[in-house]
């Protein structure tokens, strides 16, 4: 579609970046400083009592989990209130809808913005933990890719959810019954083998668990519990189905 010099989804990304330019200072703490403090307190503090897990020191074991869960939280956090707000309060999506920007472009632009946010946070985090000697394999360079995939796998279905609710109180349900269990039972802090067999499937369906395992195998240079293709496949499934769902929901909501 020869519309001009810029693809509509890039134009949407630019709007997010223009907004972010005013807010980035506030986000530095939650996206860079907090995860680092977390690693220090959990890895060194708690790790001092635990010693080693699965043959490595606890700090090295927890770093890949924390990096994935940072990406996960960022993807969720930036796809809830801001998405509902652009439908209901700011109505920015309606403004876009009146232009050549299509609902699919709005979804793509938002995901591109999240990829930017998550990737910068992940790179900064990796740089810091490099100095803690927590990266044990050159495969660690694949972590930004895994986290990018996790971002889409998480943000897309959450965007679809945000686009289908009328009131922000529904987000409490999402946080309570989906996000917190996922964060707790996805092998971030302890191996999921510790979980009762009944609860373990929570991890198997969670995109977070698959990316935690992929990140961990990358920093430690070990094989993940499932074949790599299976972990990546689950993440891809979430990403593709989630994006399709989000695009459908956005189309429906902007149509009426």
């Amino acid at each position: 579609m020869a519309m001009g010099t810029v693809h509509p989804s890039i134009a949407v990304l630019e709007r997010h970046l223009t907004l972010y330019r005013r807010l980035w200072r506030a986000s530095v703490f939650s996206s860079f400083v907090l995860p680092v403090l977390f690693v220090i307190s959990m890895g060194m503090g708690v790790g001092g009592y635990i010693g080693s897990v699965q043959g490595v020191d606890y700090l090295s074991w927890i770093v890949p989990g924390v990096v994935a869960s940072t990406a996960f939280q960022m993807a969720v956090g930036e796809s809830t209130y801001s998405v509902l707000g652009d439908f209901k309060w700011v109505r920015a999506y309606h403004a876009m809808r009146a232009t050549p920007v299509r609902p699919d472009d709005i979804v793509t632009g938002h995901l591109l913005y999240l990829l930017f946010r998550v990737t910068t946070a992940v790179l900064a985090f990796l740089l810091v933990v490099l100095f803690f000697d927590a990266l044990h394999s050159p495969w660690a360079v694949t972590i930004p890719l895994v986290c990018a995939l996790l971002t889409v796998a998480t943000a897309a279905p959450v965007m679809a959810f945000a686009a289908s609710i009328e009131h922000d109180s529904h987000f409490a349900l999402l946080f309570r019954f989906v996000m917190i269990p996922a964060a707790l039972f996805s092998g971030v802090f302890f191996p999921i083998e510790q979980l009762p067999a009944l609860v373990r499937p929570v991890a198997y369906v969670s995109p977070l668990w698959h990316s935690v395992e992929l990140c961990r195998s990358a920093t430690l240079g070990i094989a993940p519990p499932w074949p790599i293709a299976a972990h990546v496949g689950c993440l891809l499934l979430w990403a593709l189905a989630g994006t399709a769902m989000a695009a459908y929901r956005f189309r429906r909501r902007l149509e009426d």
């Binding site: 519309m3 509509p8 907004l19 109505r91 050549p100 902007l254």
Partner: protein, 315 residues
């Protein structure tokens, strides 16, 4: 496909229908808007004006009937049509966390304009809507009139063939309304095609070359403001108030019967439709009636509107 490009209407609708479930918002309307025209949809709330506008702006698909915008089909060519429309919605949807200028430059990118071109047009349009001195300020502290002017500037960023304005001055104070009308009039003079909805009669009279009155999803009248007044009203209207009015206005109306063309008793006054107001007043006095106040005025679109769409309040 029409080959008479010069005569091709920019907007063409035949038997256009929009249904939401069981509710039919637009019940088969015919509309044609020519290039350079200022066209108005006039009607009370719930008349189907906004639903019609949403179909014209290609965000809502017609349920049935034919609709062509710029010679294209809004369902198939929606993206291409939207690239050539400027939309000023009823609910403001400016980005409150962006500056006035950024609101325009960001929007320019949605149309695929280069950054430099977006900046150039933004500055030009801020000048046009008299907001240049606020270019760097945030949107939130702006007054309602300023926001609406910014929204109109934003709708112009792609140099559209048609500008769609949904209730452009609702909620604005008189000064802001007049400034806005003046700007829209300039647009019209430049040859921009304007399509607007309004429930303000003075707005329709000020801005529209031609308009349709909608009621209950249908078009009940069509023409220029003047021709509508000539067709549906008398040249003048006499407003009579009686000292013991209120409950007895219906009785007075009976006593006034035969003077002028039509008598309309309202709770607070009686309207007398006549081509010669002064003669009608003389006739009233001739019948021995003594109103406490008499006002002879020219008929307005409001008289037409109330005559056609009734006085029942629609919420």
């Amino acid at each position: 496909m029409s080959w008479h490009v010069a005569e091709q209407p920019l907007i063409f609708a035949r038997d256009l229908v929009k249904r939401f479930g069981d509710f039919t918002a637009v019940k088969g309307i015919d509309v044609e808007v020519a290039p350079g025209e200022a066209f108005g949809f006039l009607g009370p709330n719930g008349a189907g004006k906004s639903s019609t506008m949403r179909m014209i702006s290609c965000v809502s698909a017609p349920t049935s009937g034919e609709l062509r915008i710029l010679g294209m089909d809004p369902v198939r060519d929606g993206t291409r049509i939207r690239a050539r429309l400027g939309v000023c919605p009823q609910l403001d949807n400016l980005d409150p966390d962006l500056s006035v200028r950024e609101n325009l430059t960001t929007y320019a990118r949605y149309f695929g304009l280069s950054r430099a071109e977006g900046r150039r047009r933004a500055d030009e349009l801020l000048e046009f809507v008299q907001l240049s001195d606020r270019a760097g300020s945030m949107v939130e502290p702006l007054s309602g009139g300023m926001k609406r002017r910014l929204t109109i500037a934003r709708a112009m960023i792609n140099e559209p063939d048609i500008v769609l304005l949904d209730e452009p001055t609702t909620g604005l104070d008189p000064q802001a309304r007049h400034l806005l009308w003046e700007r829209l009039f300039r647009l019209k003079q430049r040859g921009t095609t304007l399509v607007l909805t309004t429930h303000y009669m003075d707005e329709a009279e000020q801005l529209c070359d031609r308009l349709v009155v909608m009621d209950g999803g249908k078009i009940v009248a069509e023409g220029s403001p003047r021709s509508l007044i000539e067709t549906y009203s008398t040249a003048e209207v006499v407003e009579l108030r009686f000292p013991d009015g209120l409950d007895s206005n219906a009785d007075y109306a009976a006593k006034l019967d035969g003077i002028g063309e039509r008598v309309d008793p309202l709770p607070d006054r009686v309207l007398l439709y006549a081509d010669d107001g002064d003669a009608a007043v003389a006739a009233v006095h001739g019948r021995g009636l003594v109103p406490s106040s008499v006002l002879v005025r020219r008929a307005t679109l409001e008289d037409v509107f109330l005559h056609l769409t009734g006085r029942t309040l629609v919420d």
